[in-house]
């Protein structure tokens, strides 16, 4: 017989190490026609970070994402970056790109200020124009400003920056300190069916609500959540590297290392909590790693809700769940007075 259950789990996850240096650099160059190029030492590993960095640069420059071209992943041409690790790209590389873009923009402001007859600090970049704050009708096209900067005045708008979360050493004895710049939070809820004859767990749906600060690109955030739930589900139910007694892996191929297929995946309902973190670029924090963190306990809590057994060792394979169900029945038998 199948039993339905639901379970919930919440989590927190840190963004931006402060315990040791993990900087990122960035260079932003505005071209003669008002488009721009960003140089970053990070690498695209599938999460869509290059698009996000482009959107950050575009926002800072008053341009559109498609106006930005990103050059990445080459130690000869790109500035230092600690890399695509620890959910740090949007937060740390993003801050570096934002600051570098603002420096390039400041050069544009200098030029535009002269063209508009105002002070640079009265300007803002928006809609491909540089305009006087509160007086948007007084504006010049960024293309014209940049062209003049390059060819008229000789101050090409190039900005470079590095960013490292402010470092705070930790007390080695007590571990006290401020180890990270900020944290993100999430809650996931899973609904499952548990077959009490085979122990099989079917995850029917997962609702995942994540705080990532500002979602620079909500579509990519959803993609990260989907992939995180996928990995969390594998962690919860299937995945385990098995070793023999002599330390050799037994199931070292994709036939026997069980990762979820389409038929094992539930529907996922993603939710992005509205938030703005003042330490991140345009309020952004992170979502890459955190998305997988609460899935497994949400599922095992749902298993408990369904059949009343607590799984304390992952993965909750059908065999383990059935064994737990049998053990519970045996306990209950004992408790019934003869």
């Amino acid at each position: 017989m199948k039993h339905r259950g639901r379970g919930l789990a919440s989590m927190w996850y840190p963004v931006g190490f402060t315990g040791y240096a993990n900087p990122s650099g960035a260079v932003v160059k505005v071209n003669e026609d008002g488009t721009a190029v960003v140089l970053t030492g990070t690498v695209e590993t599938g999460q869509g970070s290059l698009g996000v960095l482009g959107q950050i640069a575009a926002e800072a420059l008053g341009l559109a994402p498609n106006d930005i071209h990103i050059i990445s992943g080459d130690t000869d041409t790109c500035p230092m970056d600690t890399g695509a690790i620890a959910s740090r790209t949007t937060y740390i590389t993003g801050n570096a790109v934002r600051i570098a873009a603002e420096k390039a923009r400041d050069i544009l402001f200098e030029v535009a200020a002269e063209m508009l007859g105002v002070k640079p600090n009265m300007l803002e970049a928006k809609d491909h124009k540089i305009q006087v704050q509160s007086f948007p009708s007084r504006n010049v096209a960024i293309a014209d400003v940049s062209s003049r900067a390059h060819n008229g005045i000789g101050t090409p708008p190039i900005g470079s920056a590095t960013w490292n979360p402010p470092m705070v050493p930790m007390d080695p004895e007590t571990g006290q300190g401020k180890p990270f710049g900020t944290y993100v939070y999430a809650t996931q809820i899973a609904e499952v069916d548990v077959d009490d004859e085979t122990g099989e767990v079917e995850v029917l749906r997962v609702t995942a609500s994540h705080d990532c600060g500002t979602a620079i690109n909500p579509m990519l955030v959803e993609g990260q959540i989907d992939g995180g739930v996928y990995m969390g589900l594998g962690f919860a139910l299937y995945e385990e590297i098995l070793f023999d007694k002599a330390g050799k892996q037994i199931n070292c191929n994709l036939t026997n290392y069980i990762m979820p297929t389409t038929l094992d995946m539930p529907a996922i309902d993603e939710d992005i909590v509205e938030n703005y973190d003042h330490t991140g670029p345009f309020g952004a924090k992170a979502v890459g790693e955190p998305s997988l963190v609460p899935t497994a306990p949400a599922i095992t809590n749902a298993i408990y809700d369904a059949v009343g057994v607590r799984i304390t060792a992952l993965p909750a394979t059908a065999e383990r769940v059935l064994a737990a169900i049998k053990a519970k029945r045996a306990r209950e038998q004992k408790q019934i007075p003869a």
Partner: protein, 165 residues
């Protein structure tokens, strides 16, 4: 031995050792690198191509077995005139992340839609069970296939596939 097959509508030929798989034939001899080597034993589906209308793992087929047959690879899906609806939808919705499984997923889905123009979610999930993806949870892919099916049904008769031209 000499292997001759029709790839994306064109006859291609190469002389290869018998143990050459279709995957190696496509990637190394025809320089069509769209099909990927993910596991090389038919578990991951990253090497999926379409042979005579059927999705197969190119790593589990000898090039010699494909001799004389029609093969469609990811390179043959788009035409100069436009993208395949699956490519279009996947592009628009970010259905692929690292993209390594993408060519295989798209070709499996194409073979499905050619056979079953309006599949249910369950049919899509069954068809895609041989294409492992570690990034996306398959969520946007499955949505995208539904979307592409709709586009294909409402569209004016599609351009002839390359192998028919």
């Amino acid at each position: 031995m000499n292997v001759t097959l029709t790839v994306n509508g064109e006859i291609r030929s190469a002389s290869v050792p018998p143990e050459t798989t279709l995957l190696v034939f496509l990637r190394e001899h025809l320089l069509l690198t769209g099909a990927k080597t993910g596991c090389d034993i038919g578990d991951c589906g990253a090497c999926t191509v379409i042979v005579d209308g059927k999705a197969v793992n190119a790593c589990l087929m000898l090039a010699a077995q494909a001799d004389g047959r029609a093969v469609t690879t990811i390179e043959g899906l788009a035409t100069r005139e436009g993208l395949h609806p699956l490519q279009k939808v996947f592009e628009e919705t970010g259905a692929l992340q690292c993209g390594f499984c993408g060519p295989g997923v798209i070709l499996t889905s194409k073979a499905l839609l050619d056979e079953n123009p309006d599949p249910t979610t369950e049919e899509i999930r069954t068809a895609l069970a041989g294409n492992l993806c570690r990034c996306t949870g398959y969520v946007k892919m499955i949505d995208g296939i539904h979307e592409a099916a709709k586009m294909m049904q409402s569209a004016t008769p599609a351009l002839p596939a390359p192998e028919q031209r």
